[in-house]
């Protein structure tokens, strides 16, 4: 199994619902313990998040476009964060999920240094590293209705820009949509084989091409002008 996420950059509106839903679910999760906030009501609130949404402008006017860009753990097939961990706290499960055993972590930060995506954040309160669990405590929970056995970020997304599934199964929704839309992984050149995929924004198709538009316009003008000229 190779569990991961698909993030559709075409439909993402950058509302941060995935990030807040993630925070809400995982703050009370037993997998990582609480997600600490530092001075949440102070002048400079900060805290641990597994999901961060950033916003970019791509291209130059008038061919520019805003890309809303959520980033969380890619659950890499060849995860260096696991390799560099000296205590064995970071590990990769058979289903592909990369987790941190909170009882073993010594908080050396080396895994965060090894992650190119910034998917790991140290929680200063227990002094341990925390990261996206792919909601491992939701997706296998048989007390939940089958449609609810998905990560909190996927369920929260109002534009269905996030999908969850098994990339090893070619029939899964995530595999099919990745193949159809040319899904890509981030920074493959670093060799970590990230599993999660991003779908590029669709290219806008012109309703009518430029030559046809000119011909139509000329015909229209001619039909308007002709009665005047005739008179």
């Amino acid at each position: 199994m190779k569990l991961g996420l698909v993030i559709d950059l075409d439909t993402c509106v950058g509302c941060h619902a995935c990030a807040t839903a993630c925070k809400e679910w995982n703050a009370s999760s037993k997998v990582n313990g609480a997600l600490s906030d530092y001075e949440p009501f102070g002048a400079e609130p900060s805290g641990v998040w597994f999901n961060r949404v950033r916003h970019y402008e791509v291209g130059d006017y008038p061919e520019n476009k805003t890309i809303n860009f959520p980033v969380c753990c890619m659950h890499c097939a060849d995860a260096d964060c696991v390799t560099v961990c000296p205590t064995g706290a970071s590990y990769k499960r058979d289903d592909g999920i990369v987790l941190v055993d909170q009882d073993k972590c010594m908080g050396c930060n080396l895994c965060a240094w090894a992650c190119p995506y910034g998917a790991r954040e140290l929680d200063q309160v227990p002094g341990t590293m925390k990261k996206c669990t792919l909601c491992v405590d939701r997706i296998y929970d048989e007390m939940l209705a089958p449609e609810d056995r998905q990560p909190a970020c996927v369920l929260a997304c109002p534009t269905h820009a996030r999908m969850f599934g098994d990339f090893d199964d070619p029939q899964s929704e995530v595999s099919r949509v990745t193949a159809e839309r040319g899904g890509f992984g981030l920074l493959p050149e670093l060799g970590y084989a990230p599993v999660s995929r991003y779908l590029p924004p669709r290219q806008p198709q012109p309703v009518i091409d430029a030559d046809d538009a000119r011909a139509l316009l000329e015909r229209g003008l001619a039909s308007l002008a002709s009665p005047v000229i005739r008179r």
Partner: protein, 300 residues
């Protein structure tokens, strides 16, 4: 990368101590190595689990460093006792070989912790381990020269060894700085978010330039405090000058003068270590992690 004082002190101090140990075991470098390695525990957020760092020797350079360092203490301690008591024979030679090998192993493991990190271009280079090994031997050789001036009949050979390591370390440091100036391997914001530079048409987002509009968080995060450290280029240039002058220029000049008295020799060693602290601070401050691309830096 944020230059953490404990790590800078740890790597320079244990480097000098390990270089000296390797050369002696070829002394009381024990204190330096111990101070350096104790300092490395200071940067842990959860030190009560530090003992677990012996458990991943097969995969993690940090674990290997911990194992070799833990083995080095009893071996080198026993060796130093035999040296001081002028006893031993065959067992002393065996311990000398072991001490030397373990000191080298720790130095190399420390360097590989940094050199193995692919997201940091300025560290992921072959010059990183070369630098760590040669800089450790250079500062260690100066300390050894100071000790030789105080206790040995002839300090000339020690001066020669220090000079050779000094020139080699200087060459390695200059080569390292030259290597990280080469930005052809640098990653860009466009590549980080999957924009194919200059591409048009279908496929991953096609457009020439990308820039950050909004970083998505209102105040600092773990990522900005850990990776957001910025150093102005002109400050970097000035500090490189300081590192070169204190770490190499002055101690090498002292070697050329070559007064075989322990006081100036020790001053040269201390001066070199001050310079290497600046050098190690720069090693962190000049390193740019790929996370910074997502925070809006155009390139690493």
């Amino acid at each position: 990368m944020k230059p953490a004082v404990s790590i800078i002190f740890s790597t320079v101090s244990s480097g000098a101590g390990l270089g000296l140990l390797a050369l002696v075991a070829l002394c009381d470098t024990f204190v330096l190595v111990a101070a350096g390695l104790a300092s490395s525990v200071l940067h842990l957020a959860n030190p009560k689990n530090a003992w677990r760092s012996f458990s991943r020797f097969k995969s993690s350079w940090l674990s290997r460093e911990a194992v070799f360092a833990a083995a080095l203490f009893p071996v080198s301690g026993l060796y130093i006792v035999l040296v001081i008591q002028s006893k031993g024979g065959a067992s002393r030679i065996l311990l000398a070989v072991l001490t030397c090998a373990l000191a080298w192993a720790v130095l190399i493991c420390t360097a590989m912790i940094y050199a193995s990190l692919k997201p940091i271009r300025q560290w992921h280079t072959r010059w990183t381990p070369v630098n760590y090994v040669l800089l450790g031997h250079w500062s260690g050789a100066l300390l050894l020269w100071a000790i030789a001036c105080a206790y040995a009949a002839r300090s000339g050979p020690f001066l020669f060894v220090a000079g050779v390591f000094g020139l080699a370390a200087l060459a390695a440091k200059l080569a390292y700085w030259h290597a990280i100036e080469d930005s052809t391997q640098a990653l860009t914001l466009e590549r980080a978010i999957g924009v194919r530079e200059g591409a048009r048409g279908p496929g991953p987002i096609s457009a020439a330039h990308a820039r950050l509009l909004d970083v998505g968080h209102s105040h600092g995060t773990f990522l900005t405090s850990e990776f957001g450290f910025r150093l102005a280029r002109r400050h970097a240039r000035g500090l490189r000058g300081v590192a070169l002058a204190l770490g190499f220029g002055l101690p090498l000049a002292w070697l050329v003068v070559g007064v075989p008295r322990w006081q100036p020799a020790l001053a040269a060693a201390v001066c070199c270590i001050m310079g290497l602290l600046v050098e190690r601070w720069l090693f962190f401050a000049e390193a740019k992690h790929t996370v910074r691309l997502y925070h809006g830096d155009p390139r690493t």
